[in-house]
């Protein structure tokens, strides 16, 4: 069972959600999950681009009450 770490990036503005994510994912074991919460609408496009560039997969994503949620698997 993969371990999930939660990163609360709510309230942060571009580019800090992906900066914090890039920093935090380095602390996650390979294959483990990082769940990021963000309120920046730009996150949807930015996390997709970040995932394509870094190879860390988005395994789940959604939005609820203005909070975007991304579950990422460390490559």
């Amino acid at each position: 069972m993969a371990t999930t770490t939660i990163l609360d990036a709510r309230g942060l503005k571009c580019p800090m959600p992906i900066v914090k994510t890039a920093q935090q994912i380095k602390l996650v074991e390979q294959g483990d999950l990082l769940e990021v919460l963000s309120t920046d609408p730009g996150s949807v496009a930015d996390f997709a681009a970040w995932s394509r560039s870094t190879g860390n997969e988005i395994v789940e994503q959604g939005v609820q009450d203005g909070v975007y949620r991304f579950v990422l698997r460390r490559k």
């Binding site: 609360d8 309230g11 890039a22 602390l27």
Partner: protein, 181 residues
Amino acid sequence: MTAVAETPVPQEFAAAFEENPEATRQLVIINWSGDFDRVLPTLILEDAAAAMGYKTKVFTTFWGLLPFVKDQKRIVGDNWMQKMLSFMQRPGISHLKTTKMNFMGMGPWMMGRLMKQYNVASAKEMLEAAQAMGVEFLPCQMTMEMFGLKKEDFIDGLGEPVGAATVLELMTQPNTASLFI
């Protein structure tokens, strides 16, 4: 199993950002300006690029050197003209002026207030994040001398001073985006 990440992110990740052999893309920025509204996009792009796993290098030259001088330095330079320049354009990442509507510091002050209000990271925070992610800052040797700036005037962690040829070589490498800001 779920663990909540501590905020702020601890410093131990810094080692993980050391020279990434898998990095296939590179961003090279020539940071020529020391103005608030130009340094900010430099910082945003370099932070994002480093987060994306790009090799990221910033060549700082001319007015663009001044934001990388320690905040607490007031007057830098050896002769009166260099000192005068630094008096008119206060160095340090926390003392940037805007290109438009500076109004004796009113412009940057209001911009700073707005950034705080909308929770945008400050220039200082973005610079610290860039350094933690291994963004390389390369000061321009020639303009350093012209402004009378010494290595010890700058914040810690900057690269060795280089010249135009080094930057051109970086800019013409494959898969490299180069910007002059």
